[in-house]
Symmetry: D2
Subunit: 290 residues, 4 copies
């Protein structure tokens, strides 16, 4: 019945790093938000405040910047380089998790850019000294179908008042993450295909429930890239309510809608290949699916 | 030395309206945030709570939805229709201001869309029963030049520590608003040209100060559209600091930067044609320039 | 028809300054967000990028920190010290506006504190080389009356559907600002009395409209402090809708409510002494009343 | 290598419920944000869109409101009532998780209140048809010690530049969650004691690392309430940097600080009794520890 230290981790969060790649007059820009979480032999600092095993979070931040000096590449690779460094160079660190959010930019000119704003690319790499788990993803990608969505046939209990519908707006902000079977992946190509699969399946699915659309999206990504073995999706149902204009003497043939903020439905599911072992280590610290 | 009611206004803010335009299988979507502010003969409700002159804000919201039934068109036109309605139909209302923010969407399919996220289109129309002022604009458009920006020659007082630079990142989130000489304008074409002018001038100006870039942007828009007579710009200087890697034995030839949140510079200016009267009425309630 | 520079200003925004006052073992903490906006002879930097008249915003930030070395006192005084310094020491600067937000902290121990979170104290001081305008205020103070609020007697047009009510929740997030006749004020005492007046009037007013409550709040503050000559209030009507439980066989005697986010009513008004000249200079840059 | 549905859940999130308790003229107010997540036999809706096992999220929302009709009590009890209802009344629902955030209000008068803002009370109850796990907590409680914090003795690698310090500001925004051994708890008393323990330990610990402070906080709560068996804490290190005034000819004896936004340290740990089994089910969906 003694009190002891359980699971723990620490690190520097939200290091805002911008790298400019200069190829003569034509520049490229990589805009990242990097968070590091380390765990290992950390009992002393919790119990006595002895910090000889605590790589300072300021040092972690410096390391993120220093490693960017050599170029970044795909965020999955950059996260892996950092995670391996922390574990391999510090005996007291047994596990490192590096999470990166990448903001994309449109090109305006040779060295001019505008921030895209239609979704963020994400990666989380966890490394324990012997193996690494890589989870890629995207967040804040808001999509809408203005028709081809129904919702009916649900059970009616004492509290049910919702009307069935054969035509509604289906809108959501997609947070998706996907796990890979290995690390020998062309990350940029894989991400582009996965993103495109999610969007294509969203647009192309005649939907009887948001769950059905979600499943179709995950399935499409799994079919498109064999190195992806699990897709997790968290999709709020951003409700749009048809405005009742009958008291004003007007009809409203599914044209004018009120976009509500809260409450919202929230649908979360994992779509997996059935022959693969679960890997809970991979998912620790992945936002948007908890 | 009596206490009296001064300036006042009231209304419904942030009506989230989505309209679907259905042209057979091909749909369009218009996604708006509409805010109404009315003023007039409102002394009674402030002094005694008598509401016979107070068009309920709930009614204002309903009106926004009802007017969308007939189609929306350019947000400047929709705002003007609403503003005129409130003043012309309610004797107690002497002035109406309607502000609209429009979120743009990319097309994914005949009835499928993804939210763009690279800036919001805005409009504020003020109508007083005899004339209207129309201010168009955009907000949250984040842009960055990775070179061609200098900052030097500024005065050095006892508190100055900033080093001069001949090559820095220049980044900002543009909030721009522009006033028109009249209402007989092709609003969509005008907005597209103004937006393009701002972006082109940002990208194309070799900059010695953010003020110089800002002025060039406003000037470009004025030159491009003769019906625009004043442009107001509010541009935060989103500082990027070069990471000093010398203690790690590394150089950093303007490649790795830290993107800071706060504090930030904030540059605001109005660029005008010199032959036109000021119109403070037009600018009341315009966000981002106060 | 030439294009020229109109109104403009620039400065460093959101300098996050924390000062610890050490009186032996007992500490005090002052937690501020300071924004500076300067204007003057700034044509050159806009037209040619010549910066010899541009006190760098980095220098402004340093000045804020340096002036805090001598102690802060009331934020109105600190803002005035800074505003006077910028105009008096820089020939090119003709007007300075300093805006401060102060976050308050509860004491937990001699040198321990928890952030209060029930409203922010604000001040804006504008100085033009000869005189200063001081506007004090508060923001983000959310209050609620669970009864003693009615709303009825409003006009009914073709779009009106709102039911009249004799008992509703009245909730708002108060943003208040008030102007003073002079500078010889005990700012802390004045602010405490004004804040208390606003809260007391909110709680004590039997309300037939939010406008009536707002007016009573401003009037109370004016009556309480003679150096206050104008109060501006911006108060969103944070709607609470009674949940209709009749279809579930339940009554709901004004007990269970749904708190809506958007849209919301927004009521703004100025309450003034009738013998005083308006001072638009004082209000430039005051948030929450535009 | 077939594709199948993995873990999944769905529900209505962020139901904003305000209940007024009326005891004659003296009212009480309970202000909640309720999120429901259900899982069970949901394969059909994912694969075919058949919704006969899908209790609509709209019905879940209605149920939250309807259950509030009978009074709310402690949020742990209210969450448990709801979770049990969903599983026990719907054969297709095998597990329910109900998360509640409670905003606290100060009393201004018999029926008048101001929102507190110094932390949110939280609860997550998970019920699987046979047993329930209850996790209580708090979030967004920002605290600061202006002295009695050191940080030194950390390892120095090639990227370390941080100076050691014997006196710094220690500030954090506490997110804490704690698990109980059973359900026969006076939740309000337990929460009050746990909150007080966390604050007292924060203020009273002479700190050599934020980890040491965090551990002391969790240990204090465990010692104070025997029904608490595990405390999880997530505490950002909200960095305050001493402003270097030496170039301005000023000293700065730990008085003037710059409060940084990002990056920040993030310390997370679980403090547990050593004789109790882990309960990962309890922690699914608990925010702030991932």
């Amino acid at each position: 019945m003694a009190i002891v230290l359980g699971e723990n981790r620490y690190g520097k969060a939200e290091v805002r790093l911008v790298r400019v790649d200069r190829d003569g007059d034509r520049h490229g820009v990589t805009d990242l938000n990097v968070s590091v979480a380390l765990s290992g032999d950390m009992t002393d600092t919790h119990l006595t405040g002895a910090n000889d095993k605590v790589l300072a979070t300021d040092t972690q931040k410096n390391t993120v910047f220093a490693f960017a000096r050599d170029g970044i590449g795909a965020i999955e690779s950059f996260a892996a380089r950092l995670a391996r460094h922390f574990v391999d160079s510090q005996p007291s660190i047994h596990r490192a998790r590096v999470r990166i959010e990448q903001y994309t930019w449109h090109r305006l000119g040779p060295h001019s850019f505008s921030r895209a704003g239609d979704g963020t690319r994400t990666a989380v790499v966890t490394y324990d000294g012997s193996r690494a788990w890589t989870v890629s993803g995207l967040a804040d990608l808001t999509v809408l179908n203005s028709t081809d969505s129904e919702f009916w046939g649900f059970p009616r209990d004492a509290y049910t008042t919702l009307q069935e519908t054969k035509d509604r707006i289906l809108a959501t902000a997609v947070t998706a993450s996907w796990r890979h079977t290995g690390d020998d992946v062309d990350w940029d190509a894989s991400h582009a295909t996965a993103r495109d699969s999610l969007l294509t399946a969203f647009a192309g699915t005649y939907s009887l429930s948001l769950q059905q659309t979600l499943y179709a999206m995950g399935e499409r990504a799994l079919n498109a890239r064999e190195e992806i073995c699990e897709v997790r999706l968290a999709m709020p149902n951003k409700h749009h309510f048809l405005v009742d204009m009958s008291t004003w003497g007007l009809d409203n043939p599914n044209e004018v809608w009120y976009a509500a903020d809260r409450p919202y439905g929230l649908i979360e599911a994992s779509i997996i290949r059935d022959d693969l072992p679960p890997a809970p280590e991979a998912w620790l610290g992945v936002k948007g699916f908890i």
